[in-house]
C-alpha cells in the first residue's frame, strides 16, 4: 500500500506492526484457541461449578457456599489429605536419597556400562501404570506374592529378625507402604536423571580445589555437592509434592484407594466424586480449593528459596 502523507498515529503504527508480523499471531493461535477451549473455559467454568450442585445431567442448583462448608465436614476428604501426606512422607525422602545416590554413582568416572544402569533405573518411568501396577499387585499378594515369599525365606535364614509375611494390600497401613514402594520404583529413575544433570552442572574445579585443600570425600559432599544441589533438590521435591497430591494411575490400579479409603489420595478422591458420584459442583469446589492451597504453598516456597539463595 502506498505510504500516506500524514504522520501515523501510534495506533496505526501498532496495527501495521501487527500486520507485518501476522504470521507470528497465526502460528501461535492454535495454542490460544486450544487453551481457550480446554484451559480457560474449563478453569472458569470449574470456578462457577464450585457454587452449584449438579450431576451433569439434570438441572443445576445454585448453592452458594454450601460446597465449601461441606468440605469442612467431609471425613473422607480429611482422610484423603492425611493419606496424601503419609504416602508422601513414606516415599519422597527414600526416593530422593536413592535418586541422589544413583546419580552420584552414575556420575562417577570409573563406572562402566553407565547406559545400562541408566536404562535399568529409568525404564520404570516409561511403562504403562495400568500394566505395572497389576504386576506389583501380584508381587504384593499376601499369600502368593514373591515379596512375602522372600520375606519368609529371609526369616528362615535370619530368624532373629522376626520377619513376617506382610498383608501389603489388605491392611490399611501397609497399603500406603505398598503404594509408596510402587512410586519409589517408578520415579526414582526420573529424579536420578534430574539430579545427574544437577551434578554435572557443578564445575569440576571446585572439587579439585577442595582436594588440594585436603578435603576428603565426605567433606567434599557436605560443602560442595549438597549446597550446590539444593536448587535441584528443591525442584525434585516440588515435583514430588505435586505428584503425590494428584497421583492417580498408581493408586487407581494397585489398590483402588483401598482397603476402604485407606490409600485414597486427593487425586483419586477427586476422580471418585467427579465420575463415580457425579457431584460436579462439589468436586469442582474441592479441586479448586486444593489447587489454591497448592498454589499458595508453592509461591511461599519459591519466595523462601529465592530469599535463601539471595543471601547465599
Amino acid at each position: 500500500m502506498s505510504a500516506p502523507v500524514l504522520p501515523r498515529t501510534p495506533r496505526q503504527r501498532l496495527r501495521s506492526e501487527m500486520w507485518r508480523h501476522r504470521h507470528f499471531y497465526l502460528f501461535i493461535s492454535p495454542f490460544f484457541l486450544l487453551f481457550a477451549v480446554f484451559g480457560l473455559y474449563p478453569l472458569l467454568f470449574s470456578l462457577y461449578l464450585s457454587f452449584v450442585k449438579w450431576d451433569g445431567m439434570t438441572a443445576m442448583q445454585w448453592v452458594g457456599w454450601a460446597n465449601f462448608l461441606s468440605m469442612l465436614d467431609d471425613e473422607i476428604l480429611r482422610r484423603a489429605v492425611e493419606n496424601t501426606l503419609l504416602i508422601g512422607m513414606l516415599y519422597v525422602p527414600p526416593m530422593l536419597i536413592l535418586a541422589f545416590l544413583f546419580a552420584q554413582a552414575l556420575n562417577a568416572q570409573w563406572l562402566k556400562l553407565r547406559a545400562l544402569y541408566r536404562a535399568a533405573f529409568f525404564l520404570p518411568c516409561v511403562t504403562p501404570m495400568a500394566v505395572i501396577a497389576v504386576v506389583f499387585g501380584l508381587i504384593f499378594s499376601a499369600e502368593k506374592g514373591v515379596l512375602n515369599f522372600v520375606l519368609l525365606q529371609l526369616n528362615r535364614a535370619l530368624p532373629f529378625l522376626h520377619l513376617q509375611p506382610i498383608p501389603w494390600l489388605t491392611n490399611e497401613s501397609w497399603s500406603k507402604v505398598a503404594v509408596a514402594i510402587l512410586v519409589i520404583w517408578r520415579w526414582t529413575g526420573y529424579n536420578m536423571i534430574l539430579m545427574l544433570a544437577g551434578l554435572q552442572g557443578i564445575p569440576a574445579d571446585y572439587y579439585e580445589a577442595a582436594m588440594v585443600d585436603g578435603a576428603n570425600g565426605f567433606q567434599r559432599m557436605r560443602h560442595i555437592t549438597l549446597p550446590l544441589m539444593r536448587p535441584t533438590f528443591r525442584f525434585c521435591g516440588l515435583l514430588s509434592l505435586l505428584g503425590t497430591i494428584y497421583m492417580f494411575d498408581e493408586i487407581f490400579v494397585l489398590t483402588s484407594g483401598g482397603p476402604g479409603t485407606s490409600s485414597t489420595n486427593v487425586g483419586l478422591y477427586l476422580f471418585n466424586i467427579s465420575f463415580n458420584d457425579f457431584r460436579f459442583g462439589y468436586a469442582s469446589c474441592v479441586g479448586y480449593t486444593i489447587a489454591t492451597f497448592v498454589f499458595i504453598g508453592t509461591l511461599i516456597l519459591q519466595r523462601r528459596n529465592r530469599r535463601e539463595e539471595g543471601s547465599v
Binding site: L14, L33, A36, M57, T58, A66, N272
Partner: protein, 468 residues
C-alpha cells in the same frame, strides 16, 4: 509509552471476543435430559431380535447368566450377553449415561440408588409396557421405581429382614425364639444370653460404624421417613427418635458386639460363639452358607425367626437391599431388552429360577405365593425360611428414597457413628441432623407436624422450629 494503551485494549477485546464466543458455543443446556425422556419409551415387538448386553454384578449377574439360556429358548432371535467383568462398573455406567454412549442395554442398580439414576432422565420410560405389573410388586418397591407417575425401573429382588440365630446357643441358654415378639423381648433375651454365657456371647453385631442398617430397618417398622412425599427432610420425627431409642437400649444393655459389618470378625462370628443372632435381610443366608464352609471350627446350627416389632402388634417386616433392572435411554434395541427384563422379573418362570439357582428373593408377588417358597431349607433345620421371609412382604413400609438418598444416608451414617462414639447423647440429635442435611443438600425441612404424621401438607408452610 503511548502505544501501550491501544495495545492492551485491542488484545483485550480480541481475547474477550474469543472467550465470549467459546462460552456461547459451549453453553450447557441442563434440560436436555428431560427432553430425552419425553420421547423415549419401549415399542414392544411381537418378535424381538438382536443382542442384549446386560451389566450386572456378583450373584445377581450369575443368576442372569444362568437364566439367559432359558430365556433364549422362549425368544430364539434374542441373544443375551451378561457382562460382569470389568472394574468400576458404577463409574463406567454413570460416565456412559452422562455421555450418551456406551451404556448397556440393560443394567442393574440397587433399589436405594434407583431414584437418583431415574432423576438423571437417562433411562427409558417403561410405563407403557410395565404399568400392568404394578400390582404384582410390593408398593414399597414400586414407589422407588417411579417418578412423576412414570415407571423407569423394575424391582428385581427384595431383602425382607428376619433374625438368623444359632439354635444351639439359644437352646443352651434357654431362649425360645417364638417368645420374642418385640425388640424389648429381644434385648431381654440378649441380656440373658450374655449373663449365662459369662460375657462370652453377645446377641448381635452392632458396631458404632454400622448402625445405619439397623436404623433403616427400625424406621420401616414404625413408619419413619428420611424424606417426606415432597422430598423435604422429615427425619426429625418421633419415629426416628423411637428408632434411635431402641438402638440406644440395645447398646446400653451390653448385648452388642462392636464390630463392623463384613469385617473379618463379623464373618468369623458366624462360626464361633461370640455372636448369637444376626438381624439382617434374607440374602444373608447365602453368606452364612458360604462362610460356614470356609472357617474351621464347629458349625453352628442355624434357624430364623421373624424380626421383632417395636411395639406389641407392630410390623415385623422391613427391607434391606434389593436391586432393580433398567433400560438406559440410549439402548438401540429396547424391544429385545424389555423382553428379557420382562421374562427375568415379571414372570414366575424367571423369578423362581433365580430363586432356585442363586437364592435371589423375588420381589414378584405371584412368585412368592407359589409352593416353591414352602420348601424346607435343610441348612436351617428344615425350617420353611422362604415362607417366613415372604410373610407380609406387601406390608413393608415405603421409604421415600429421593435422588438425594445416598448423600443423606451418608450424613446419617456419620452422625450415628459420632453419636455412638460420643456417649449416645440423643438430645437434639435429629434436629441437628435435619439442619445438616438441609444445609448440605439444600432441601427444605418438612414442618414437624408433617414429619410426625406423614400426611402431605400444603406446600409453603413456614418451617417451625420446635419450641425449646
Amino acid at each position: 509509552m503511548n502505544n501501550r494503551k491501544p495495545n492492551g485494549l485491542v488484545s483485550g477485546l480480541i481475547i474477550g471476543c474469543v472467550i465470549a464466543s467459546v462460552f456461547w458455543l459451549l453453553r450447557t443446556s441442563p434440560h436436555s435430559g428431560a427432553a430425552e425422556s419425553q420421547t423415549n419409551f419401549v415399542v414392544p415387538a411381537a418378535h424381538p431380535e438382536g443382542k442384549v448386553t446386560v451389566w450386572s454384578w456378583n450373584i445377581a449377574a450369575k443368576s442372569l447368566q444362568h437364566l439367559a439360556p432359558q430365556f433364549e429358548r422362549t425368544q430364539p432371535a434374542v441373544k443375551v450377553d451378561v457382562d460382569m467383568t470389568g472394574a468400576r462398573m458404577q463409574t463406567r455406567l454413570m460416565l456412559s449415561l452422562a455421555a450418551g454412549v456406551g451404556a448397556p442395554d440393560v443394567s442393574q442398580f440397587e433399589l436405594t440408588d434407583a431414584p437418583r439414576y431415574i432423576a438423571t432422565g437417562k433411562l427409558t420410560d417403561l410405563t407403557s409396557v410395565a404399568e400392568r405389573y404394578r400390582s404384582r410388586f410390593p408398593a414399597s418397591l414400586w414407589d422407588n421405581c417411579t417418578r412423576n407417575g412414570r415407571v423407569y425401573a423394575i424391582p428385581w429382588d427384595i431383602g425382607p429382614c428376619g433374625v438368623f440365630y444359632k439354635r444351639d446357643l439359644f437352646q443352651r441358654y434357654g431362649i425360645d425364639p417364638a417368645k420374642i415378639e418385640t425388640w424389648d423381648d429381644y434385648i431381654a433375651a440378649g441380656k440373658t444370653i450374655f449373663q449365662r454365657s459369662g460375657g462370652r456371647t453377645k446377641m448381635l453385631p452392632l458396631g458404632s460404624n454400622s448402625l445405619r442398617p439397623m436404623f433403616e430397618m427400625l424406621i420401616q417398622q414404625n413408619g419413619g421417613q428420611v424424606f417426606d412425599d415432597q422430598g423435604r427432610i422429615a427425619i426429625n420425627s418421633p419415629q426416628a427418635r423411637q428408632a434411635l431409642a431402641v438402638i440406644q437400649k440395645m447398646r446400653a444393655a451390653g448385648i452388642c458386639s462392636d464390630i463392623a459389618l463384613w469385617s473379618q470378625e463379623f464373618l468369623a462370628g458366624l462360626n464361633d460363639e461370640s455372636i448369637a443372632t444376626y438381624p439382617i435381610a434374607v440374602w444373608f443366608a447365602g453368606t452364612i452358607k458360604d462362610t460356614v464352609k470356609d472357617f474351621a471350627g464347629k458349625k453352628a446350627d442355624w434357624g430364623v425367626f421373624r424380626l421383632p416389632a417395636i411395639t406389641p402388634g407392630g410390623l415385623h417386616v422391613a427391607n434391606l437391599g434389593g436391586s432393580v433392572l433398567v433400560i438406559p435411554a440410549q439402548c438401540r434395541n429396547k424391544a429385545a431388552a424389555w423382553a428379557f427384563v420382562e421374562y427375568a422379573l415379571c414372570t414366575n418362570a424367571g423369578q423362581l429360577e433365580q430363586y432356585k439357582s442363586m437364592s435371589l428373593f423375588p420381589a414378584y408377588l405371584p412368585a412368592l405365593e407359589t409352593p416353591v417358597l414352602d420348601e424346607p431349607d435343610p441348612f436351617f433345620g428344615g425350617q420353611k425360611t422362604g415362607r417366613l421371609f415372604a410373610t407380609d412382604v406387601t406390608k413393608i413400609s415405603r421409604l421415600n428414597r429421593t435422588p438425594a438418598w445416598g448423600e443423606a444416608i451418608r450424613y446419617l451414617d456419620q452422625e450415628l457413628s459420632r453419636w455412638a462414639a460420643g456417649g449416645m447423647q440423643s438430645d437434639g440429635f435429629f434436629e441437628n441432623l435435619a439442619l445438616k442435611m438441609h444445609r448440605r443438600l439444600d432441601l427444605p425441612i418438612a414442618p414437624p407436624a408433617v414429619a410426625a404424621n406423614l400426611a402431605p401438607q400444603s406446600p409453603g408452610e413456614p418451617i417451625r422450629r420446635r419450641p425449646q
